[in-house]
Symmetry: C2
Subunit: 247 residues, 2 copies
């Protein structure tokens, strides 16, 4: 089973959009997929059409209640994707977590490790114990970087965090790739950021980039990933090609 | 002295851009301003042209070292704005904070409360004790909401947090206003979000909105707020009018 977290502390860089679309494309290709929403904002839950506040169970129950197993919490979206939904209450768990709990996902997902080909984890814009627990658990990470200066600076920070995790918690953690998002090839800022990424992270850059398009926020309002909302759209095609390159 | 925090847990909603521009416009109008960067990403520090990793002191020193006073940490930007810079190490302080420290900013800023007309605080995209300490300290908050569905959902969450703070830590906390950002009037999604804001939060909406423009990330790369980078730009004019409406 492959386990992939989508991370970057910089807010609004396309983590949720990337996690939801990659998970959906893998699902469309017949792989057994579980999308895990590890963000108290519950954006991956919202982007797949579910209402976080109306579900019986969510990931927070898995964290808090020893009797709750993954099978109790896993839901199917309207387009057949398996998801462990999130809830704002996860923020309370996050605030109360201790460093000793950082390995918690190993135990939680042990019962289902033979049921899936991929687990894709969406993480919050923070370096709290939630994100660290994802970094301690997964074998691979994808880093979406908005084509803006501040997200580029955020990349420097996450590389430091990944190095620290590799030195202790998870020596085999691999960077699957860096994905430029919200790119607008006609602007200087995008070209500048892509230049910097090419100079400093050439070997880690995915061949695909995701252009800026209003179809992405539209699809989140519709509660389906863009690869379902508008499959022929350039953003949907880019996420499809990206996913094919990681298979 | 007026104290204003710019908050929203949703990442990439324009918190830093709003905090930096409002602080700069107030400064240009002759007010005595202190901008406080309370985010370990140190984006407000970067957006005002400073390199967080090369400064002698930062807000983390203020938190950690009882002998360090605000005067030791306050810097002037190239355009004359006083700022308390941040540093990635603030994340370590954030992770170690206890609920008992939530009132910490009162004591930290006591020595300078007569030196300034406004303190503007940029907060991280999280509901950690850092953001809570800002909510416990300030008298007013500004909430920038990106004209996207997910940010709108985030607004529901922050209103709950504000209510909770008002019931205990800071009963007088006032919402100065909700600021729609990255608006593109030609798109359905922007109109939909503005409709929702008008329906549910009519009395809290600022008259101004900030349109989507690549000049904003360009100005962050240049290390100056858009009101200095391109003063006649519509984004700069909107931030100027907004600031005039809160004077
Ligand atoms: N390529 C794109 N072009 C335009 N908008 C996009 C694109 N990708 C994502 N978006 C939109 O931008 C906003 C931010 O994206 P998203 O929520 O996926 O980022 P995130 O990194 O998960 O944010 P957070 O840090 O809050 O978790 C969302 O409203 C999303 O719909
Ligand atoms: N009106 C706008 N139009 C286009 N881009 C903008 C606008 N306002 C801000 N930006 C850019 O969008 C990105 C996100 O904005 P900003 O960093 O201010 O948000 P934030 O809420 O502070 O993010 P975080 O949650 O990470 O703290 C930045 O690169 C910024 O330059
Ligand atoms: Mg997200
Ligand atoms: Mg910010």
């Amino acid at each position: 089973m492959r386990t992939i977290a989508v991370i970057l502390k910089k807010g609004g860089s396309g983590k949720t959009t990337t996690a939801v679309n990659i998970a959906t494309v893998l699902h469309q290709k017949g792989k057994r997929i579980l999308l895990v929403d590890l963000d108290p904002q519950a954006n991956a839950t919202l982007c797949t059409g579910l209402d976080p506040t109306s579900l019986q169970y969510n990931i927070n129950d898995l964290f808090k209640n020893i009797n709750i197993k993954p099978a109790d919490v896993i839901l199917k979206t309207s387009f057949g994707l398996n998801i462990i939904p999130s809830h704002p209450d996860l923020a309370l768990t996050e605030a109360g977590m201790k460093a000793t709990q950082v390995g918690i996902l190993n135990g939680l997902f042990e019962p289902i490790k033979d049921d899936y080909d991929y687990i894709i984890i969406d993480t919050p814009p923070s370096d709290s114990y939630l994100t660290v627990s994802a970094l301690a658990y997964v074998k691979e990470v994808i880093i979406p970087v908005q084509a803006h200066f501040l997200a580029l600076q955020g990349l420097t920070q996450v590389m430091i965090s990944i190095d620290q995790v590799r030195k202790g918690l998870n020596p085999k953690l691999k960077i699957l790739g860096i994905l430029p998002t919200m790119v607008n090839q006609r602007t200087n800022i995008s070209r500048e950021v892509l230049d910097q990424l090419n100079t400093h992270y050439k070997d880690l850059l995915f061949p695909e980039t995701i252009d800026y398009s209003v179809k992405h926020p539209e699809s989140s309002l519709a509660g389906v990933p863009i690869v379902i909302y508008d499959p022929k759209h350039s953003g949907a095609l880019s996420y499809t090609k990206l996913t094919e390159s990681i298979l």
